[in-house]
């Protein structure tokens, strides 16, 4: 077989295997220990053993995956990487929606409880004609582009002037 053809066939095969390689999700856990500690639980009662789905819609966590209870916790100040903020948020939820904390203690998922109705806006992703901004964005882009074009023109003029001076010096 021609060497180039062999090389290309090998590359195509490797690329095909790569594209067909399956991707799977990740699983991790975070604040459940704080919840256990704050509510005096012996183990996490919702979505054991990881407990991520108490506040996230998947065990991967991350942006855009907050559950209804997670959004409520965020409304009460729970912040990434700040365990104490989770403790405080649980206390505030207990004051305002005690039934949700009772759900957790009883091993029921508070996300299934109708009283978990968060009002905090959460980010949405992707392109959409719904919920667009006021239109300030394109105006900002136009203004910035105009300013940059003007700046570029000044720079270009200066460069041209400098180049012509340089040519003059060389010529003399």
């Amino acid at each position: 077989m021609d060497r180039r053809l062999l090389l290309f066939t090998t590359q195509a095969l490797v690329m095909g295997v790569t594209l067909a390689w399956p991707a799977t999700g990740s699983a991790s856990a975070s604040f459940p220990s704080v919840v256990e500690s704050a509510l005096n639980l012996t183990t996490i009662t919702v979505d054991p053993p990881l407990g991520c789905k108490l506040c996230h819609t998947s065990d991967s966590g991350g942006l855009g995956t907050l559950s209804r209870f997670g959004t409520l916790m965020k409304q009460y100040g729970a912040m990434p990487g700040a365990n104490q903020s989770v403790v405080q948020a649980l206390m505030l939820v207990e004051q305002s929606d005690k039934a949700l904390i009772d759900d957790i203690k009883a091993g029921r998922d508070p996300n299934a409880d109708e009283s978990a109705a968060p009002s905090l806006p959460s980010p949405q992703y992707g392109c959409s004609t719904v919920g667009r901004s006021t239109g300030a964005g394109p105006a900002w882009i136009a203004a910035a582009l105009t300013a940059l074009l003007a700046l570029g023109r000044v720079v270009r003029k200066a460069k041209t002037r400098e180049d012509s001076q340089g040519d003059g010096e060389t010529g003399s």
Binding site: G64, G126, S128, A144, G152
Partner: protein, 404 residues
């Protein structure tokens, strides 16, 4: 110990989030400075490098300088350097490309069962067209998980993404001045392929999903180059209150062909921060350097101070820094050592440290294999019940990468 248990879970989450975010990588090889390339424009259609298509010259250099040559001394680039290994020749004005990167990831946090999985890190196609002085560029890709802030579709998983799309005009014949507007990679710091370095994640300036809409001016004049961008927000996130507005700039000076030093600065404001959900004034400033003391060795370093003013939630003053050494014993094989330090600035947070040992083998045209071993010691802030602590983790990542 409950504290260490919390720490382990926090590290497990951090690792999970990092590697969900790690669903893509672009090609950015700042170690090309060892060949005298202090700038990016000869090889990349993006003048600040990193993202997007290669120029015809860049494709030739990928064949001559990037991959292992197996004894070949030809000074002419092979025909396989072209798009799809040369079977699809294109006019010079149209530059197309694609990136596919798959990995196997293993993560062991002390006291927690090992986590192992396959990752689709990148599956993108992209293009750049130049008509006279006018330019248009864009990318389109598929992401099974994560990168939501670059999504065109709005599903929790399996989204189409466009990391960059912009229109521009070159202000001179050499392309040394480019004005462009659209969705752009934020011009800040070193554009490294290791997009999950703490310096990139803490400043939100990686090559994957943190691009912003706005307008920028790239400039290059003799030994100085840089880019300044006015940021108007990420219009792939809604509602508007989650969009950051401000500026970002880097300026780099190359006193020699084997050395470049620069500084970066960034400021943004969002009515609701996408992570913290409160009004956030975010600042990042810091220097960076690239230096090749001897032919086969390149050193990089960057240090950024990051300050966040979170309304009703106090202030956070933190930092992220790294040093990397890249040694190429023979063309096409890179051995790298990286050390990082970081503190996000949360109350009572101890600094985090990690170290990487990496090897990359550009074994065939358009293809490379990479292996990373990462040891992390992540600082866990104190709680009312436990003092601050560190949790240790060891990660392995094996990657296969092909570009079209």
């Amino acid at each position: 110990m409950r504290a260490s248990r919390i720490g382990r879970r926090a590290v497990a989450l951090a690792a999970g989030v990092v590697f969900v975010l790690l669903t893509s990588r672009a090609s950015a090889y700042p170690w090309m400075i060892r060949h005298g390339y202090t700038g990016c424009t000869p090889c990349h259609t993006d003048p600040s490098g990193g993202a997007g298509a290669l120029t015809e010259y860049g494709r030739a250099q990928s064949d001559l300088l990037l991959r292992m040559r197996y004894g070949s001394t030809s000074e002419e680039a092979d025909r396989t350097a072209g798009l799809l290994w040369g079977i699809a020749p294109l006019p010079e004005q149209l530059r197309l490309g694609g990136d596919f990167r798959e990995a196997y990831f293993s993560n062991k946090v002390e006291g927690v069962p090992v986590q192992q999985q396959f990752l689709t890190m990148r599956a993108d196609v992209y293009g750049d067209i130049k008509v006279g002085r006018f330019r248009a560029a864009g990318s389109l890709g598929y992401v099974p998980q994560g990168d939501l802030t670059a999504s065109l579709t709005s599903a929790p998983n399996d989204n189409l993404v466009s990391r960059e799309h912009w229109l521009g005009v070159e202000l001179d014949d050499e392309g040394a001045f480019l004005v462009r507007a659209g969705r752009l990679t934020v011009p800040f710091g070193l554009r490294m392929i290791e997009h999950n370095l703490w310096a990139r994640t803490l400043t939100r300036t990686d090559l994957d999903a943190t691009q912003q809409y706005g307008a920028s001016l790239y400039f290059s004049r003799e030994q100085i180059r840089g880019e300044v961008m006015g940021i108007v927000g990420n219009f792939q996130v809604r509602p508007d209150e989650f969009r950051e507005r401000g500026y970002s700039i880097y300026v780099e000076y190359a006193p020699m062909t084997n050395m470049a030093v620069g500084v970066s600065s960034l400021f943004t404001r969002a009515t609701r921060d996408i992570i913290y959900s409160v009004t956030d004034y975010r600042y990042a400033n810091g220097p960076f350097v690239r230096y090749s003391p001897v032919g086969q060795l390149v050193l990089f370093a960057e240090a950024d101070w990051v300050y966040q003013s979170l309304t009703w939630n106090g202030h956070r003053s933190g930092y992220a820094a790294f040093v990397q050494g890249d040694y190429e014993p023979t063309q096409g094989l890179h051995l790298m050592v990286t050390a990082e330090a970081m503190n996000r600035g949360a109350s009572g947070e101890p600094s985090s440290l990690d170290g990487w040992l990496s090897a990359v083998w550009f074994f065939l045209p358009h293809m490379d294999l990479r292996l990373d071993g990462i040891y992390s010691s992540v600082g866990v802030p104190a709680t009312s019940a436990s003092p601050s602590t560190h949790t240790n983790a060891t990660s392995w990542l094996a990657q296969f990468h092909v570009f079209l």
